[in-house]
């Protein structure tokens, strides 16, 4: 017979005011399995906890029921007390007689009866509770960062700072992401190359960071602390060990008219190329799609000039399997394809460009060496129209606000003024959102000091008229129809998740929201966690975000990862499912329902009637099991049970309450 101690708390007057705590404690002392019962003013206080410890000693208790507040409040506290009293923490249960009872039922007699029932149920539950130890899972002290933008770089640097080996995987030939393509950044107008390049170099030099560029994540298995990741290292056709980055090859490459992805088509690149001068690693790759050798087998100009014969056309994609303990996703963003919105005639009128294209023109190392020009005739634009919220805050496209366009439009207006002193900027906006530090002052500088003309209204239509772009819109403040004859129009299009985010979500088993951004575990309290343990988020892949926030999230995700990786092993809640292989028939219902892939197909060999029979059976991977109990309820043969929420416990709880009813009923 169990020796359970029942401790009824007054919680000052919170419980005692409506529940007759003395009579409940006295009644509880006579419950089956109860060796001792008492009540006390504040169970969770120090004297309260001491009282439990003493009683546990004196009455050799092996289980505790604390009738007080909600377990969501003090379960950890009293589990700790149980541990100190030498009782397995999972043989302590709390009976919720405050939130679910005294605070919501005024009738003293009813509340007391309900409190006693709650205690009766918990005593029956503790009597059926197996002692459980938290599951220990070894941790691989290595982190994976997916995406080499500013968020990814920051995360990798911070994790490396903690002395943990970090694999930084970047899909394009160089890390740097979108920020590398920017010119000056708001609100300080310091040049992004100057503040980003040092971090890129640190990342490439750090002894703890291994850089995998031109590489994608193919497959992710395992669970928190023990992920097994398959990487696809795309063929670069250049042996980076031999190459010293002299650049002869891409100077010699005859094919110079390939639109550069990095410049968003503003400039061109060669087939063998380095995306931008400050690229890290500063070594070229050959783009198989545009290199003529892969079409006709001729040319090989780069191979001829390469003194270190680093060119290797026979290279194949390579796969590498790595073990990591934590994964930080920093896959960044793309912009909504403006061609979808016919009214802006992007693509039809050459002088209608996107914000990122404007950045590339304004960048000193960009294709126009910093000169702002009209793509149609290369002339300097005198009148430039900047259009806000193109595709954002629009029920036909993206409902959300992309957060950074107001600021970079103000920045563009300022840059335009600096580069072309007599140029006039017109900005069509709905509301200017400048909530960051120094943002309001920055925007005011654009419209007051730099003379940018802010027109509050949406642009209804653009069309070209003898070389000019006529922008029809409305200025709601003056109520006027407005028509601007512009030399150049810059569209601030909506930020959307990077291409391939959906695919990455499927590989990681992480869900995405209605707009395709990764789902954080909790918008306010766990913004960099995901629902899956050990996978963290950083940067614009989680939602539109500016550089300061992306960097902050990079560090936050790193802190989370370090919190996990600095432990030898991590403990997980032991309330996981367990399969009885002898009666499992291998129908895989559990495998189908589990959202975490915990049930795995294994085998069992039994001797029946003298013959050895091997059968497929399910087995729960305790590392992956989150303890939801879905598989337990979906197994027809009840072959799976859940520790801590076992069928026996639920049955006992049910019986504890209803048995009193049944006895009363059979009196009739």
């Amino acid at each position: 017979m169990a020796r359970i101690g029942v401790f009824v708390c007054w919680c000052g007057a919170n419980i005692a005011s409506t529940v007759d705590v003395e009579s409940v404690a006295e009644a509880a002392s006579r419950l089956p399995g109860v060796a001792f019962a008492t009540d006390y003013k504040y169970m969770c206080s120090d004297p309260g906890q001491k009282a439990i410890l003493e009683a546990a000693q004196e009455h050799r208790l092996d289980g505790l029921v604390v009738a007080a507040c909600s377990p969501r409040m003090h379960e950890p506290t009293f589990r700790q007390v149980a541990a100190e009293a030498g009782i397995n923490p999972f043989r302590m249960q709390m009976a919720n007689i405050r939130e679910h009872c005294s605070w919501v039922h005024a009738d003293r007699e009813e509340a007391t009866a309900k409190a006693l029932d709650a205690i009766r149920m918990m005593v029956a539950r503790v009597a059926q509770s197996e002692p459980l130890e938290p599951i220990k899972v070894p941790v691989t002290r290595r982190a994976l960062v997916i995406g080499g933008g500013v968020a990814g770089i920051q995360a990798a640097l911070d994790v490396a700072d903690g002395g943990v080996e970090t694999i930084l995987v970047e899909r394009t030939p160089s890390i740097g992401g979108k920020m590398a393509g920017l010119d000056e950044t708001f609100p300080t107008l310091d040049c992004s190359q100057c503040i980003l390049t040092p971090k890129m170099v640190d990342a490439s030099r750090s002894e703890f960071i291994k850089l995998y560029t031109y590489c994608e994540v193919e497959k992710v298995d395992g669970s928190v602390g023990n992920f097994k990741v398959t990487l696809r290292k795309k063929a670069k056709y250049v042996n980076h060990e031999l190459c010293n980055g002299c650049g002869d090859c891409f100077h010699k490459c005859p094919y110079k008219k390939i639109p550069s992805e990095f410049d968003y088509g503003v400039g061109n690149r060669t087939a063998i190329y380095v995306p931008f001068p400050q690229a890290v690693p500063n070594k070229p790759v050959i783009d198989r799609e545009t290199c003529v050798f892969f079409k006709t087998g001729k040319c090989r100009a780069c191979e001829k000039v390469c003194l270190r014969n680093a060119i290797d056309f026979e290279q194949e994609d390579e796969f590498e399997e790595i073990d990591v303990g934590a994964i930080i996703v920093a896959t960044g963003y793309d912009i909504l394809e403006p061609a979808e919105m016919a009214e802006f005639r992007y693509g039809a009128i050459p002088d209608v460009i996107t914000g990122l294209q404007f950045e590339r023109m304004s960048s000193a190392s960009g294709p126009t060496e910093g000169k702002i020009v009209r793509p149609s005739d290369g002339e300097e634009p005198k009148v430039v129209v900047f259009v806000h919220c193109v595709g954002s805050r629009d029920e036909n496209y993206k409902e959300y606000c992309s957060k950074i366009c107001c600021m970079y439009n103000a920045k563009h207006a300022i840059i335009l003024k600096h580069r072309i002193h007599d140029a006039q900027a017109y900005l069509f906006y709905i509301d200017v959102r400048a909530g960051g530090k120094g943002y309001e002052e920055f925007w005011k500088r654009a419209c007051v000091e730099e003379g940018a003309e802010y027109l509050r209204g949406r642009v209804s239509r653009l069309y070209d008229e003898n070389g000019k772009v006529i922008v029809e819109g409305q200025d709601t403040l003056s109520g006027e129809q407005v028509e601007v004859v512009a030399d150049l129009v810059v569209l601030a299009t909506a930020m959307v998740p990077a291409k391939g985010t959906e695919e990455m979500a499927r590989i990681l088993g992480v869900s995405t929201d209605k707009d395709g951004f990764f789902n954080e575990a909790h918008p306010k309290l766990r913004p960099v966690d995901t629902a899956t343990g050990g996978i963290f988020l950083a940067g614009a892949c989680q939602a539109p975000k500016d550089i300061p926030e992306s960097v902050a999230q990079g560090s936050a995700a790193a802190a989370k990862a370090l919190g996990l990786l600095t432990k030898e092993e991590i403990t997980r809640e032991p309330t996981v499912a367990v399969v009885d292989p002898f009666i499992c028939t291998g129908c895989w219902n559990c495998v189908t329902v589990c959202p975490f892939g915990a049930p795995e197909k294994s085998e069992i060999t039994m001797t029946i009637d003298g013959r050895k029979v091997t059968r497929p059976v399910s087995e729960i991977n305790e590392g992956k099991c989150e303890g939801c109990g879905l598989c337990v309820a979906s197994c027809p043969g009840n072959c799976i049970d859940q520790r801590g929420f076992s069928d026996d416990q639920v049955y006992a709880e049910l019986g504890g309450y209803l048995e009193r009813l049944r006895a009363a009923l059979t009196h009739e």
């Binding site: 016919a342 009214e343 239509r461 069309y463």
Partner: protein
């Protein structure tokens, strides 16, 4: 195909040529039109800016009188008002009760309201029109002007893309016209301000006409009598103000379609167009004789 025909006030008066060409084209294409007995004015823009009940009761009266299952409305304004009424009465029970009290009889829900362009461009198969062509439009250069009511708002008038409609362009292409691209397909012509604020109409229509001329158009094809009259009525004065000597007649898509289907210009009411259309008709004639490659 059988429709209840709702001409609307203008087609029995200033827009008579639209009515003539509609009846001619529908007759040739086998679309039976049964004029709605006792139809009334749809209220146009004036009603819904003054009295909401009236704005819904007038169209409701016309819809309830319709005998067929679907109504064909050639005028964009009537089409828009009838659609608006039908959608709102079905969704808003209290409004419906109020309108039924005003009409003193139940509203006949479930009648489909269709614009004539939608019917001809989407329901009549292209091959059928092709088969019935007597001659092409001889490569006449045209731009198609839908106006702002025909494709908006999306919830009510959803038979073509709101920003970039193409159904009339397709139809004209079918008839052998050279359809030019231009940016002002759905920009407003000033509509009812024609009398109260003529300055606005002159400004808006001027922009449309110069844009059409700039695109090289020899005719602006329209599908709404209001747009036609704004573009046509004061064209000489408006263009003179802007120092433009060329003229570009605004004609109904049914008139050009009628020509292609072999009806005579007189039967299609070309003479009623203010801007002289004789050069246009000559151009079509010339284009027809000239061998095919000349058109290119």
């Amino acid at each position: 195909m059988k429709f209840s025909y709702y001409p609307g006030c203008t087609l029995h008066s200033t827009g008579a040529e639209y009515d003539q060409s509609v009846r001619a084209v529908c007759h040739t294409l086998g679309i039976e039109l049964v004029e709605i007995p006792g139809w009334g004015c749809c209220g146009a823009t004036s009603a819904h800016s003054v009295n909401e009940l009236l704005a819904y009761a007038l169209p409701a009266h016309t819809i309830t009188n319709a005998t067929e299952e679907a109504i064909a409305a050639p005028c964009a304004a009537c089409y828009n008002r009838l659609r608006y009424t039908d959608v709102n009465l079905r969704e808003n029970a209290s409004l419906r009760a109020e309108v039924e009290k005003a009409l003193d009889r139940p509203y006949r829900a479930g009648v489909a309201v269709r614009h004539l362009l939608d019917i001809i461009a989407n329901d009549v198969p292209g091959e059928e029109i092709q088969a019935k062509l007597q001659g092409t439009l001889g490569g006449l250069k045209v731009v198609c002007y839908y106006g702002c009511l025909l494709t908006r708002p999306k919830k009510v008038a959803a038979f073509d893309d709101m920003e970039e409609p193409r159904s009339m362009d397709r139809l004209m292409q079918l008839c052998g016209a050279e359809v030019l691209d231009w940016p002002h397909r759905v920009v407003c012509c000033g509509a009812a301000f024609s009398l109260s604020r003529t300055d606005i109409v002159r400004h808006m229509t001027g922009k449309l006409l110069t844009s059409a001329l700039r695109a090289g158009a020899e005719a602006v094809v329209v599908a709404c009598p209001m747009c036609q009259s704004n573009l046509d009525l004061r064209q000489p004065a408006i263009l003179k103000e802007r120092g433009v000597r060329e003229r570009v007649p605004a004609v109904y898509f049914t008139q050009l379609l009628g020509l292609a289907l072999g009806h005579s210009a007189k039967a299609l009411g070309f003479r009623k167009i203010m801007v002289d259309t004789s050069s246009l008709l000559a151009r079509v004639e010339a284009g027809r004789e000239a061998p095919a490659e000349a058109e290119g």
